[in-house]
Symmetry: C2
Subunit: 357 residues, 2 copies
């Protein structure tokens, strides 16, 4: 009970104190606690003593010292455009589950589509020695880091990047065939903002599928969500249904000759429905509306939303799994792309096409 020179300060006990206390060297203690292979010669007896003392004195290895030595941090960086509600939250729920199980923490950084930030944040996080990156809805094209990268919902064919993508062809096919079967021939499209990697990719799928099922796309029925309305810089917010309200309003002013509209996501669809109602049209009586994502509110909107479900939670889980795997064995081959399956959820916002010739 004599207080030595290094009597435990209430807060913290380090390796040296623990070793002194045990009357062993730091080396031995460290080897035992880390289950190092070179510790095989240490007898069970001693081993037990060490582990018990560490437990009893509540020894916690210093995170920085350890990371400095091993140059790995047990944390990853997550880079997303924003903390938008529909997408980010769902994907991250999956990510969190996997990372937590593996004792990993994560830093979040939001670039808000600012090119400068997209390049700066990864650099800053590399300085903090994150072991890998998870990109959400963000192209890896301009990101150059010395650690594994997994991009969810992006499509850059770049060295070092694994993409987790939805099977857009299947997704679009399900949605359009559903509308087609209901008799819809004049379908409007609300494309996603340019900044989002999925936007063009999905549009390509729409064009392909239209040809396959014999549907003509009228350019006068195609509108696009503005990049600006998606960004927080302008005071807007990607979660505000306003992103869908305004484009629909604009479309209605110049053209009402359509019986259905396929929206880029559920939020936009909710805004579009509101615009249709404000213009005196009923959903699905006059116009059917299909969304994308199947966010949690989709089932509770009025009318409830027919939509293509993205398995966002699973995409997050898968992304995190692949990243952790790649971190664990840095040298091994890794997949360049992993495809996930969509699923059409039919609810109240779609119905038979009205017969206006």
């Amino acid at each position: 009970m004599a207080k030595g020179k290094n009597s435990t300060p209430p807060g913290h006990v380090n390796l040296r104190m623990l070793a002194d206390h045990l009357e062993l060297s730091q080396t031995t203690v460290s080897l035992v606690l880390n289950n190092s292979p070179s510790a095989k010669s240490i007898p069970e007896e001693t081993r037990k003593r060490v582990v018990e003392a560490a437990q009893r004195l509540n020894y916690r290895p210093n995170y920085f010292a350890r990371s400095l030595r091993q140059s790995r941090s047990m944390s990853v960086g997550v880079l997303a455009p924003d903390l938008s509600e529909g997408y980010f939250t769902r994907v991250m729920s999956g990510v969190v589950q996997e990372l937590t199980a593996a004792h990993y923490f994560f830093f979040t950084a939001c670039h808000d589509w600012n090119r400068e930030l997209i390049e700066k944040y990864p650099r800053m996080l590399v300085e903090r020695a994150v072991d890998g990156f998870l990109l959400l809805n963000t192209s890896a094209d301009h990101i150059d880091v010395p650690v594994p990268v997994v991009a969810i919902s992006a499509h850059s064919q770049v060295e070092n990047v694994t993409n987790i993508v939805l099977d857009h062809h299947a997704a679009v096919e399900q949605a359009l065939r559903h509308l087609f079967d209901l008799g819809h021939r004049r379908i409007a499209f609300m494309r996603g903002p340019q900044a989002i990697p999925d936007s063009d990719f999905r549009w390509d799928a729409i064009q392909d599928v239209s040809i396959e099922i014999g549907l003509r796309i009228d350019p006068a029925c195609v509108i696009r969500i503005d990049d600006a309305s998606w960004s927080m810089k302008t005071g807007y917010h990607p979660m505000a249904p306003e992103i869908g309200y305004k484009p629909m309003q604009a479309l209605l002013e110049r053209n009402r000759d359509f019986t259905a509209v396929f929206c880029f996501n559920d939020i936009a669809a909710i805004g579009a429905i509101r615009a249709l109602k404000d213009a005196g049209l009923s959903v699905p009586g006059d116009v059917s509306v299909v969304g994308f994502d199947d966010i949690l509110s989709a089932a509770y909107a009025t009318p409830s939303l027919t939509t293509v479900r993205q398995p966002l939670l699973e995409m997050g889980k898968k992304g995190a799994q692949v990243l952790l795997e790649r971190i664990a064995n840095r040298e091994e081959a890794y997949p360049a792309e992993i495809t996930m399956a969509p699923e059409l959820v039919v609810r109240e916002s779609t119905g038979p096409a009205v017969g206006k010739s």
Copy 2:
């Protein structure tokens, strides 16, 4: 151009290399780069040489070495129940703005109301030497850490904690007076789940204000959102309007003698509206509905939602500001509570009370 023993490996240049290159000691370089007070004797000439070389060789001090030495990390921990969409996202938008401006990053941890995790995560993050904690919707009662703590929307009177709270009395007063003025006398209440700190606090305010304005609360008209339906453990999700749908359904089964309902938040209100409609009641024709928070979808719901706006973004900003301030001057006095002002937003979901006696 001769490659010395320590020729720059493409990745990284450290202090020793930089010093060698400059033919100065590490000490000198370090002192200059950190603007240390003891460097006042170093001539401008040398100083400039050092700074320029650091710039040119792209010298980045090693984060771990620096943190090990100074034992601070330039990062904070954020502890929240979940990544729920309405609340978390809005508050964090504000938090991110402030932290980023101060060159701080943050770890996020989700406890999902699990008591064990609520105590474990802070410990783990303290090991990672976070400089402070931000609690969202989480009581600080069982959290004991050696760094500053700021709790947003919590009310624990604990040493070391600053609470950022809404003025609930004012919030409730605005909402109830609005209903009262519309002629409502029989008002139902949907209380928040027990786990959330604000729930009881707001309920107290409701009782106080009711007495003040002469409103009688009928216990038969009071329902409560279930803790379980709020938690992700059960497969539910705090963002699903289901949290409000079910309680309202339950209430309607036993009692329809009310003309308005005041819901714990907007999500629940949207679910409640759906339940009312499914039961054949119109909103606001038969029943008026008031929400809380003013999330982004509130304006686009059908009918759009009358609600009490919480300045969530500002609460996040304020919380982060206070935390950073407290981190910067650890010894100084700090406020125990900071109150923010709510604002009633009147939209379509409330109207005059129907005259059923």
